[in-house]
């Protein structure tokens, strides 16, 4: 029984966590987002959120 449950957990598609991934990639293709070119810029970006 335990083995069946474990198999179910491991093999279950990760639909939830992968939801929106392709949409985000499309946004990148369209340039909708923020490009970061340095660590300093990354710090400033996260601090500004």
């Amino acid at each position: 029984m335990a083995a069946v449950i474990e198999k179910d957990v491991v093999n279950r598609p990760k639909k939830d966590v992968l939801e929106g991934v392709d949409e985000a990639w499309e946004q990148y293709k369209l340039g909708k987002g923020k490009r970061i070119t340095s660590d300093e810029e990354l710090d400033a970006f996260i601090d500004s959120l």
Binding site: V9, K32, L42, I46
Partner: protein
């Protein structure tokens, strides 16, 4: 010769790209969990220097990679090698860890709520072997 050239020209860190959806997600995470946000910051910096450190995803998500942070949180990203850019496409909780808990509670919970459920589940799993050991020892002594 090629080796000399590589040594004299250190690899340029990759650019990062945060699509609008991920920006919103990151802002929500920052409001709810500052520690996680700092861990994300460090991981993003590492990704810029080592874009292939993540685990490769397969099937319909081929081309994407995932890296784990804070145990059960995961960054999903994709490298655009031509543009020398790492695109962060999702930050979420790894489903395979939550597993049956998500099946039971549904996927409509917000990030903070799901993180709490996840931490309780991990605590339960972590304490389970100790409980077994305790009962085993007591039964032997009796």
């Amino acid at each position: 010769m090629a080796r000399e050239k590589k040594l004299s020209e250190p690899d340029q860190p990759y650019d990062l790209f945060f699509p609008d959806t991920v920006k919103d997600q990151l802002a929500r995470i920052k409001k709810k969990d500052k520690t996680l946000c700092e861990q994300l910051r460090k991981r993003f910096k590492k990704l810029r220097k080592n874009p292939e450190c993540g685990e490769i995803l397969s099937h319909d998500k081929a081309g994407y990679r995932e890296v784990h942070i804070k145990g059960h949180w995961v960054i999903i990203y994709r490298a655009d090698y031509d543009a020398h850019t790492i695109v962060i496409v999702k930050i979420g909780i790894h489903d395979s860890v939550l597993g049956l808990m998500i099946l039971g509670f549904g996927g409509g919970l917000d990030l903070g709520c799901r993180a709490k459920i996840d931490s309780h589940l991990l605590h339960f799993i972590a304490s389970f072997p100790r409980a077994l050991f305790f009962f085993h020892n007591n039964s032997v002594d009796a």
